[in-house]
Symmetry: C2
Subunit: 514 residues, 2 copies
């Protein structure tokens, strides 16, 4: 048994049985191992940004890490942006990066770079294996690190000689470090704060955004009058008919200020106070009202669900939340195609248990609104703000949840970052509907150009925000990668195509021309 075999066997033993990869020469022993060690599914992606985004989507939906397989510094560089998004979602990822054999680094061969320094900028845990006999143990530690609540990116750098030299066998799985309990004193303090408050909001992130957490939070809200709120960009939120509702904080700083105005108490459950996404001249970065008391019920590494349930008891809440939205979907839309009419069709036909991935940017407001009372589903948001995330995340979510329909709503600008994802969707026959909102613009930047006080923009500036010349033909691009695709230019066309895609299995792309 060589180091690579001991590592893959250890990963499988530790519950990591999917590897998204784009390997090169230095990873060939890891690749060869896939046939020698049972139990690891390998999913090839044509670009490392797809690899890391897929690992993010998988981590969010499977609740456990996938492994990646990246090729030296450049592979990690290509995967960096979606690791950033994953880090901001606290997704668990075992990020395996091949490197030159240790003795080879001294020669400064063309692919040499400081992989450790690069890994430190995007990881919660980093280790470079010293030799082939410690790789298995390092793998077990990487899985443990990735799974530590709330989840993090554990980067294991694998010098090629640690993969090909002899090893002793697999390492046993290490215990998963579960969420730290919240003390009853903290819970009681929060309960007191809520009682003392005239107007309170409870901001929830992490495990509290799944049904049981929302249920407990809903009981607290009904007992205390507190409002339940979540970040604009959430890692994973369960929502729709029958699920206790939570209100999303708006995107722009001045909207957040208005949204929070009048609150005297902000309770944090796994999150931080909301701030402006960007800085703007003469606009606030900090959005919590002056004098508002901030109390932490649970930190990100703590047991948010347990804390919410304990808080419900502490405030004497009823045993069940009463307020839940009923299923309420619009009629199938007619007329012109807009984000609103597209959203009506999406809400109407969204199947129960769907995973809704939202990188629709400016086109995402109406879909978010209309789906709030659609069939219950999981919603994944762009936590790190780095575009080119949605299509890869759809790959990972589909691998994690083969029996659920994945619906990926995407802006055209962001879609072009990691468009190679479509090929992996086709190759793995993943059940994904990709909706590309083609407004042929980085539309958000037209708004931001004015908001930053840079004026309306002259022709050269505006041309840098315009992706309509030449027009991107997403139908051809998707077909070129083996994904069935169609274009919708009216609401009826969109509704027909979306309804049809819901009925079929396998990947599909709809270009929604806005």
């Amino acid at each position: 048994m060589n180091g690579a075999e001991s590592l893959v066997a250890t990963l499988v033993e530790s519950g990591v049985d999917v590897c998204f990869g784009n390997p090169g020469t230095s990873e060939m022993h890891f690749v060869a191992t896939l046939d020698r060690v049972a139990g690891m599914r390998a999913v090839l992606c044509l670009f490392e940004g797809v690899v890391t985004g897929a690992a993010d989507g998988y981590g969010r939906m499977a609740g456990k890490p996938a492994a990646t397989l990246l090729h030296l510094g450049p592979g990690l560089g290509n995967g960096w942006a979606n690791l950033h998004n994953a880090r901001r979602a606290a997704s668990p990822i075992v990020n395996v990066v091949g490197d030159h054999a240790k003795y080879h680094v001294q020669y400064d061969a063309p692919l040499t770079s400081d992989v450790m320094a690069l890994a430190r900028t995007c990881s919660g845990w980093v280790h470079s294996s010293i030799n082939s006999r410690s790789v298995a143990a390092d793998g077990a530690r990487a899985v443990q690190a990735a799974r530590a609540t709330p989840g993090q990116i554990a980067t294991l750098i694998l010098p090629a000689d640690t993969a090909w030299d002899d090893a002793d066998g697999l390492a046993p799985a290490l215990p998963v470090q579960s969420a730290a309990p919240v003390s009853i004193e903290v819970v009681d303090d929060v309960a007191k704060a809520l009682r003392a408050s005239k107007r309170a909001a409870i901001l929830i992130r992490g495990a509290g955004l799944l049904k049981p957490g929302l249920e407990a939070a809903g009981r607290v809200a009904e007992a205390t009058g507190a409002k339940l709120i979540c970040d604009t960009f959430v890692p994973r939120l369960q929502r729709g008919a029958g699920v206790v509702e939570i209100e999303r904080i708006p995107y722009f700083a001045e909207q957040i200020v208005d949204f929070l105005a009048g609150y005297d108490t902000l309770v944090l459950v796994g999150g931080q106070p909301p701030v402006s996404f960007f800085a703007y001249p003469a606009k606030p970065s900090w959005c919590t009202p002056e004098g508002c008391r901030i109390v932490y019920l649970a930190q990100p590494h703590e047991d948010q669900l347990g804390a919410l349930q304990a808080l419900a008891e502490a405030v004497g809440a009823a045993p069940q939340a009463a307020k839940r939205p009923k299923l309420n979907v619009p009629d199938s839309p007619t007329g012109g195609l807009s984000q609103a009419t597209a959203a009506m069709a999406i809400a109407k036909y969204l199947p129960e248990g769907a995973v809704l991935i939202d990188e629709a940017a400016t086109s995402g407001l109406a879909p978010y609104g209309f789906t709030s009372t659609a069939a219950p589903h999981d919603y994944l948001g762009l936590t790190g703000g780095s575009i080119g995330w949605g299509l890869p995340v759809a790959v990972g979510a589909a691998v994690a949840c083969p029996d659920r329909k994945i619906v990926c709503l995407h802006g055209d600008g962001g879609a072009m970052y990691t468009i190679q994802s479509l090929w992996t969707q086709a190759r793995e026959k993943l059940d994904v509907i990709n909706v590309i909102f083609a407004n042929r613009s980085y539309a958000i930047l037209n708004i931001e150009l004015m908001r930053v006080g840079a004026g309306n923009g002259g022709p050269k500036a505006l041309s840098m925000l315009d992706i309509g010349s030449p027009t991107l033909d997403f139908v051809k691009i998707a077909e070129g990668m083996g994904v069935s695709a169609s274009r919708a230019e009216t609401a009826e066309q969109f509704a027909d195509q979306f309804a049809d895609a819901v009925k079929q299995k396998g990947p599909r792309l709809i270009e929604a021309v806005l």
Copy 2:
């Protein structure tokens, strides 16, 4: 005048008049400036790997830096791999990375990351501007740093408030730090070493690979019997009919060992001793024969051309090199399409002054061979080994050399990394012929899998090297981005399509099915 205006005016004043960009909110003031400050051409790319690759291609061909415009840590991450390639080519790049306003970083908003730490891993020079009144001076320093011989990546991090706050005006251009002269003592020592040698090789990189350097080197070779050699992957090499020829070191370590066997002296001109690209079990990393004397004529920051010319005098060389290849191109090929028949057509129709960009990987051997006696041209190689480089570099080379035909030879696997380049080629109407060698495989990895001693590979391993399922349709993908495209399946089809593309202006893609 604000900081962004002072910066752009300074860049233009310093000779940087092209900016490849993919900006976001934090760069909006820079963008707005494009209409207020004259002289900066802005080229939009749909992904930052295209931005940095284009800057590499521009730097190599223009001999001066372009600016980039990247959006925070994720934008830099997306551009990292092609910055790695550029760093390995010593390309001059002024790498401008927007960041959050300094006072905003404390709030850890979603796009926050350690941009400085990330920039350090891919830059030769890094600075983050302190305030708007120093941005202009920082810009002048960045240009000076980028242009210091042999060229480097100078990363200027631009916090948003340094762009929008008031500035005093542009900063004057700083003197370009030219190549350091090589002392006559060093030249004489090398001349002595060559005289004492029974069999010598002169390894040239950098400025020595342009015509005047090759001319001087050719004189030395004829006077001393030394062999002229260059790295497998060169930043820029002038070659073809009438240009003194230099032999390329082969790729694999054991081939390099054979290639250098029997040499007692290795003279280095701007380069380092050749080493194995990767490490392999029981194969050498160091390839220079034991006992071979290594002498440095010029370091990378020194004047390679001057040193070669002085060496020619020191060895009493004739005033002109006599040995140069004559124009010798094959007949137009017939029959099956292979890299050899494609190469024949490329060599036959390659126009004088073309820029030949080579990321053809395993399909590149025959094209390199056949074009050695084609019309004189510039040849650009994949210096950093990170694939997804060629198509972006074609963008930059075409912007730098609007009157020259750019021919980009690309493997299909690498092409999918930065396929978005085609859109910018279409948008800017760049005169590029993209040839995609579609062998539907990461073919090099099939060789490497065996070379690393990992065995032949079972079905799962081999599937990770196979990109043929589903088949990528590069014609559709290119058309989807506005580039005319065709597919060739016979030698005649390829020759006709390539000859036709040479006659036309503007971007074109040929999928060569191997």
